[in-house]
Amino acid sequence: MAFELESAAHPENLKRVVIEPVTRVEGHGKVTLLLDEDNRVHQARFHIVEFRGFEKFIQGRPYWEVPVLVQRLCGICPVSHHLAASKAMDMIVGARLTPTAEKLRRLMHFGQILQSHALHFYYLASPDLLFGFDSDVARRNIVGVAAAYPEIARQGVALRRYGQEVIRITAGKRVHGTGSIPGGVNKNLSMEERDTLLKEIDDMIAWSQGAVELVKKVYGGRPDFHNGFGYFRSSFMSLVREDGALDLYHGGLRARDEHGQTIFDHVDYTHYWDYIHEEVKPWSYMKFPFIRSKGREEGWYRVGPLARVNNCDLIPTPLAEAERKAFKAFGGGSALHATLAYHWARMIEMLHCVEGIKELLHDPDLLGDDLVTQGQRGFRGVGVIEAPRGTLIHHYRVDEDDLIVRANLIVSTTHNNQAMNEAVRQVALQYLDGQNLTEGLLNYIEVAIRAFDPCLSCATHALGQMPLEVELQDAAGQVVDRLARNGGGETAR
């Protein structure tokens, strides 16, 4: 069912409904629906309408500038870009990180995922989950949550602030810091900084446990509805540790198909291109990655919290591991494919992050001063990390003068492109097909997109071969002429 509803056979006779912008997501996107006279859905697309150019304009810049420069892709998950680029540059300088450097980066990244997950759950998603998808739109926002559930809102703000504070202490700034450099980090943790973070960590763990319980309560309250909402099955991809454990900073690539069968496992991510390709479609600025061995039609997959929690064999912190087992038991021992299960998995990960932060804060290596190493100079660097929204791939080539000559970024949200479109189409068929559209019903579409926590500004960074379409309309709005350039650069009328 993957590509059904992607393109209507005769769009000219259909009416067009547009949701623009999609709200409570990072970045700008829109949804278009083509409906017939009986409001039957014939086409549903999730379009990304932003345009960025990072892969192009970092060419000619020195490699050590890149971890700081490319994190400007995003204001929500800059640390993930900062660290993915740093990992790639570690290969350029031939470094094997010291324990202090690696653990400081891991701490920084736990802070990143904590703050991003808290932001998404409390600020963006909780209004839908707590009030209902088609509840009063005036109340369906974080201000409404703060009024109706002040303690939940307060905890959400505090969890995000704590994550930001971890980032500030390790990277120098809450947003767009400079802590990670090729071959290591530029500062360690002082005892004062460690003690400051330790003071609040038990509250953060308790509140994260509360968040998992809240999702379980909401989800379990109407299990059939939540399981069935925008339901589809897919492959999943994520990094896993050598022993199969969840690892957000480093590991090998694992992909499993919709039946749970392994497609590839423990793949050295520096060879990602042997396993993943990208396709361009003429109606979106976001590319469509797919697993090569399964082809363009069948090779799409999901990444992010749901993929990671489904894919891993264990979570290496006890509270989150117990929640993973409960999550798996809910799915009858196999992977959960429900779109809304993303929220549940996301909160399990948030709990893992605060547990991981506590564990690291008690590690004396973080106070060490062996911060940077280097080895044999390389010219190709690949850095892969699990960003809040999923697997993030940075790939660079550097010349002998230390300048970037080529860059390829496959950003987390991009992996989910086809899956988000699939969710939109499922919801359109389940709830909108043949109905009189209301604001509440249209929000069902947004709820499905929101579950993925897409970051659209991150995901639209390609330049050079992007598809473009120009329409000439007469005064009555009728299309007189249309000129289109496809992803291969060919222009057609």
């Binding site: 050590w64 500038e65 400007r72 400079t178 450099i181 090729p182 300048l403």
Partner: protein, 235 residues
């Protein structure tokens, strides 16, 4: 008459041969400047150090101090003019402070903070300028060059190499390198040269050192440029 002058009403001494800038620095009075560095001959090109002496605007780094001078320095009018000069510098180059490795250590950025520059005001030129990474240890990023000629003077006066010079006129002026190919890697420049140390922006940098100093420990993280430079910090 005694050898004193007044700056903003404060009487300060000077020695014969000193400029207004010399006397002010010796007395701990800050006059904003970019192209001036007390280790080198005055240049008088950036005009940031413009002061008003007895009703006339002059460059304090080149004007000899004289007895009885009444100098205005820290006034809204002069600081406004300085801010405009800075805005022009920002508009005509490509100064991307948020990602620049000299951020926090950059005199241009620190002056912009000191003078309350909150936007570039003028339309950005976005000029196309070359990055020269041919030297094994030094990067020349002309996007950030403000033509202060500190590297030109350092290479000539201290290093004795004449590696750098300015070429072209007006807005076409650019920093050129004394080498058959015009490339830094083919010049006589060494990473230990004074010319590499004096750039007030991020135009000349030692390679592979970027971002080594964490936020919070950079030159201007805790003190404004007025305090850092009156305490003797220039590089």
């Amino acid at each position: 008459m005694s050898d004193t002058l007044t700056i903003d009403g404060k009487e300060i001494p000077y020695r014969p041969g000193q400029t207004i800038m010399d006397a002010a620095m010796a007395a701990g009075v800050y006059i904003p400047h970019l192209c001036h560095n007390p280790e080198f001959k005055p240049h008088g090109s950036c005009k940031l150090c413009m002061v008003n002496v007895n009703g006339r605007n002059v460059a304090s780094c080149t004007m000899p101090a004289a007895s009885g001078m009444t100098v205005l320095n820290d006034t809204p009018e002069l600081n406004g003019a300085r801010r405009s000069l800075l805005q022009m510098l920002f508009a005509e180059g490509n100064h991307l402070c948020p990602v620049c490795e000299r951020s926090g250590n950059c005199h241009l950025q620190a002056l912009a903070y000191y003078l309350g520059m909150t936007n570039p005001h003028y339309v950005q030129f976005y000029p196309s300028r070359e990055v020269d990474a041919s030297h094994p240890d030094v990067l020349l990023d002309r996007n950030r060059c403000i033509m202060c000629e500190l590297c030109v003077r350092a290479s000539s006066e201290v290093d004795g190499k004449d590696v750098f010079g300015l070429s072209g006129r007006g807005i076409q002026t650019r920093l050129v390198v004394n080498a058959p190919t015009g490339l830094l890697g083919d010049s006589a420049l060494a990473v230990s040269d004074k010319a590499v140390q004096v750039c007030p922006t991020g135009a000349l940098l030692i390679k592979r050192q970027g971002y080594r100093v964490p936020v919070g420990r950079r030159m201007f993280d805790h003190k404004p440029i007025s305090v850092v430079q009156t305490e003797g910090g220039h590089d």
